[in-house]
């Protein structure tokens, strides 16, 4: 099954030259794919377009074999695909770890009891139970990154979009994150400047060159 199909996507921020000028990609179930390219080349924008957080000026967004154009079309997409943001501080918007992880399940209609059971399961799976009642703003950079992944995994997504997940991680935390990601069955679309991390997690690579994706 094709999870994400982006066809000839064009996009420009207001008053700026276009960053995407016909970018296309396909992500299949279980596939792990990485995107590389210079800073500002539109890698993060592409991930945001896949989730409907940005709208392309032209091109087609087809997710789970359905065309997605309007805001309402993306509600299902955001339930089934998890995006891990570049800056964890952008992603953790609840005061405590447990509340942040529970946000997604509660939004999916789970009861508070069910949501807290999911929190326990995800934190247990990631061996992060010691962080459950911590304030999100007091976590270290590495802890924040692992918790952002937990917040997304709590929604049991079918694919993960990872935007520079190793930013500001020390080698130990990077290795731990890699071990966790390698154990996941989900399809992964990875944006990362780290060559060893890409090689280990998603060696299949597309590069953004002049606003288009080129297989490498």
């Amino acid at each position: 099954m094709t999870i994400i199909a982006l066809e000839k996507i064009c996009f420009a921020y207001p008053g700026q030259p276009p960053v995407l000028t016909g970018a296309s990609l396909h992500l299949q179930a279980g596939q792990r794919l990485s995107i590389t390219g210079p800073n500002g080349s539109g890698k993060s924008t592409l991930l945001h377009i896949a989730l409907g957080l940005q709208r392309p000026s032209s091109g087609a967004v087809r997710i789970f074999d359905k065309d997605r154009k309007e805001e309402a079309d993306f509600h299902e997409v955001r339930r089934r695909i998890g995006l891990v943001f570049q800056d964890p501080d952008d992603q953790l918007f609840c005061p405590t770890v447990a509340e942040d992880i529970a946000f997604g399940p509660l939004n999916l209609g789970k009861s508070r009891h069910e949501a807290m059971a999911i929190v326990d399961r995800v934190l247990g799976d990631l061996d992060l139970m010691n962080l459950k009642d911590r304030s999100t703003h007091k976590l270290s950079g590495g802890e924040k990154r692992l918790i952002t992944l937990a917040t997304v995994l709590a929604m049991e997504p079918e694919a993960l979009l990872l935007d520079e997940p190793t930013n500001a991680l020390d080698p130990e935390n990077e290795a731990r994150l890699l071990e966790i990601l390698l154990s996941l069955p989900q399809a992964i679309l990875l944006v990362s400047h780290s060559t060893p991390f890409r090689a280990a997690l998603a060696p299949e690579r597309l590069e953004l060159q002049g606003g288009r994706l080129v297989p490498m």
Binding site: H75, R78, R79, G82, L83, F93, T96, E99, N107, H137
Partner: protein, 199 residues
């Protein structure tokens, strides 16, 4: 809501949040009706004893957060000295110290999810007439989450200023601070949408 949560579990954590909020409301009403400085000082002593009853570490942590009130005390006292009403100034400052100290105690000893549950219960009548209250409940969590982050952003800007200037940071950091806050708000809105938004 100056502080987030206590660094340690206390007896007050086991008291239902609804009771604590009701007691806080009652105490606040009473403090505003008291017109005696002596009674306000007595109330402040009781508030201090409340903090100490939860242990010295808790008391230190809680009282440390109340330091943020000093500039407000200074403005109130100076203003009333100029006005020639120092007793009134002292009364207002004591009332402020009492109410904020008690509110901070409740915040420190309550889980946010329990506070939101109480808010959701209080908003039940609005839901009965078809209004969505989830946004308001999330807004409470966002304010508590991002207040320390905004403080950190401000501190980072001041550090960046000091790194390149021997002069004291001025009002000129207000504009970049505002831009950063708006930028953060934008990012958080995207993160909320990415995890299903608010329904």
């Amino acid at each position: 809501m100056i502080s987030l949560t206590s660094p340690l579990e206390t007896w007050a954590h086991r008291v239902p949040v609804g009771w604590k909020l009701a007691a806080l409301s009652g105490a606040t009403l009473m403090l505003f009706s008291l017109q005696s400085i002596i009674l306000q000082v007595a109330a402040l002593t009781l508030a201090l004893m409340l903090y100490l009853s939860a242990g010295s570490l808790f008391a230190r942590s809680g009282l440390k957060t109340l330091r943020i009130l000093w500039p407000f005390f200074a403005v109130i006292v100076v203003w009333h000295l100029i006005e020639g009403t120092p007793q009134k100034g002292l009364m207002i400052a004591l009332r402020l110290a009492n109410t904020v100290a008690l509110a901070n105690f409740v915040t420190m000893t309550s889980r946010l999810s329990d506070m939101i549950d109480v808010a959701a219960w209080l908003l039940t009548p609005f839901r009965h007439i078809g209004l969505k209250t989830r946004a308001l409940e999330i807004a409470i969590a966002l304010v508590i989450r991002f207040t320390p982050l905004l403080g950190r952003r401000g501190a980072q800007l001041i550090e960046a200023w000091r790194a390149r200037s021997a002069r004291h940071p001025s009002w000129r950091i207000a504009l970049p601070m505002t831009v950063l806050a708006l930028d953060d708000a934008d990012h958080v809105a995207e993160a909320l949408k990415a995890r299903g938004g608010i329904h």
